[in-house]
Symmetry: C2
Subunit: 382 residues, 2 copies
């Protein structure tokens, strides 16, 4: 075993960081290709950066975000948040009382844990279902939740979406939509309407998901509810700070529907290209992946490496030889050792997929070469 | 009454932000003087900004913050947060159970509202005192809180600090120190020890208070408790995002004890200058202030404005005529209406104090002119 424990994982990660630092310093940032899909964006001009101070920055950027955010999300007012989870917490703190019911409809279980967790915090009764026929709104319900698209990018049916909102509004119950990736996936790829345009009272999206913005949340909806929620947001420190607001603004401005559509087509293309060489790659909503177990199946001779170690060595070869960043190399201790190649973020936009395929294949061939030499593998990882 | 309720406060703040925006866009940032003492900084080099957008940026900055943060705060581990209030919430969520007691000792009431508010959220019994002799720790106490320096910069006595910690530890109860500005004020100006060095289990500071960092919170303390609190932080989206972490790192690196000390000398100078005209200004540790009540005492003719309204109108005149930003104009709803002129932040370093005094006097004369005309005052504020 090469990577045995958390300490090894930390050492591995430190090595990856120093390789990256070295590439940035000797060859330049353009020789790195961050395909983790987790990189988020921070787009800011020097003059904008000068304005980033507590009271001056928000004045400028929050105003601008109102305009750009409403265009992206619909609704009457937007509110920038530190994370989508913070927005969910604030909404539940503001709208949900102890012992009331919160019901949640989503395309596929499980729900994002921040929803039941926030309900527990205020002492509400939470229930969820992914079977439309079983969805109902009991007496004493304070909030109806809809997830626009799940963590695995499973998208809700638009008719069901509308019906749930109607059911809630017949009983005068507000509807919060967790539209983390859905605000773009539903609208751009599935041609659905914005959550607010469908009648949602509150909708929240993640500004780093499928767009070049920072990790953060953007809430939109009814002005009266947003104002009520904003009080909780300020009280508990859940708002996005000025640097985030600036990056959200520029993230939305730089969000190109075509890039998203293209990345979804391109993942099919990449999948087909890799399939002519590999047999165990799988599609994700925005790219391709291979798990350590599936990677092991690609190797047809006996060896002593664990499945995870194979993934770590592969990830380091990709990084060292081609500047391709994947999670097994840079991940925090405990992160998954699955290699994902995500095509939805900016480094991937201009990547030639034939070229990427060749680099992945050649890295794999190098992996096959070094597998018998455990000492060499250890050297690559640490 | 001009400012009657929270909605008025929001409208007032929005007006202040649009005045600021207008000054930046038409005259330039150098015509604004943020003397709130709350204007954080965002120091970042181009190469750091390039790293901000990759998966690795955060990893690099968080690593570096561990080192620099521990030096600033003491303790075994640091945790960067979106705000000090978020850190207080997370600590109480992690350590305080329903129906247990939380007791708080501070140099002067009132406490920062985030502490009682977070206790209410988990259903704990909260009590506070600023009389040391009356402080005691009842049975069934889950957390002892100490405020290092209050919102008005009143600093705790170090002996009392130590005694409260001892009392808590005798009963095996963890101590959280709200050291928002105290982490610098207490240590640099009052020569006290770091909270963690005095035995605090958790200490939190605001990275925009008396240092050139961003609005945000930095927690330090016992590794086991930090790890426990970090779970809540990640669950509810309370952590500082990468741009904030970077700015915290550089804020701490650029914190100069001498600047803080110099601002303390300059405040004496400013106080003397203002004293030749006013009679009710008071010193703060890093500047001067006049409360709404004291401001009212400066006016020797009858009028209909409330004390707070006087402060709001004064603050808006300072902003509109001279670009001087004070909290009554830009503050969040519920913020104090006291006018502070803080000399510890970068906009104040190069300010000519004679010139500043003249601007404050001339704004006050304008205030005297408009006071009889309530409609005019309303127009100035909204």
């Amino acid at each position: 075993m090469i990577v045995n424990n958390s300490l090894d994982e930390v050492k591995k990660r430190e090595n990856a960081l120093s390789i990256i630092k070295n590439i940035v310093e000797t060859k330049g940032r353009e020789h790195l290709f961050d395909l983790t899909g987790l990189s988020g964006g921070f787009i800011a001009s020097p003059s904008e950066l000068n304005l980033l101070e507590t009271y001056v920055g928000p004045a400028i950027f929050e105003d601008a975000l109102q305009e750009v955010g409403l265009e992206h999300m619909g609704g009457e007012k937007v509110l920038p948040l530190n994370r989508t989870s913070s927005g969910i917490l604030a909404t539940i703190l503001a709208l949900v009382k102890k012992d009331t019911n919160v019901v949640h409809y989503l395309a596929e279980l499980p729900a994002h844990p921040s929803i039941p967790r926030s309900c527990r915090l205020v002492g509400a009764n939470y229930s969820e279902t992914d079977i439309f026929e079983e969805f109902s709104i009991p007496e004493n319900t304070s909030l109806v939740v809809i997830t626009g698209s799940t963590m695995d990018h499973k998208v809700i049916d638009e008719d069901e979406f509308k019906q749930v909102i109607e059911m809630a509004h017949e009983k005068d119950i507000p509807v919060m939509v967790d539209d983390a990736s859905g605000a773009r996936l539903r609208t751009v790829v599935f041609n659905q309407a914005k959550a607010c345009d469908l009648g949602a009272d509150i909708a929240i999206t993640s500004t780093d998901k499928l767009m070049p913005g920072p990790r953060g949340g953007l809430m939109a909806g009814r002005r009266d509810l947003i104002d009520e929620i904003k009080i909780k947001v300020n009280q508990f420190g859940l708002e996005a700070q000025p640097p985030l607001v600036l990056a959200m603004l520029n993230g939305i401005k730089n969000f190109k529907e075509d890039n998203l559509k293209k990345s979804l087509q391109r993942k099919d293309e990449l999948f087909d290209l890799l399939n002519s060489y590999f047999t165990n790659f799988k599609k994700t909503p925005t790219g391709v992946m291979i798990s350590p177990e599936d990677l092991a199946k690609e190797i047809d001779f006996p060896h002593k490496l664990s499945d995870d170690d194979l993934a770590f060595v592969f990830s380091f070869i990709l990084l060292k030889d081609y500047g391709i960043i994947t999670i097994p190399a840079v991940g925090m201790p405990g992160a998954s050792a699955t290699l994902r190649f995500d095509l939805s973020t900016s480094d991937a936009f201009n990547l030639d997929l034939n070229d990427l395929t060749k680099k992945i294949e050649s890295s794999f061939e190098r992996l096959l070469e070094v597998i018998p030499n455990e000492e060499k593998c250890r050297e690559i990882v640490f």
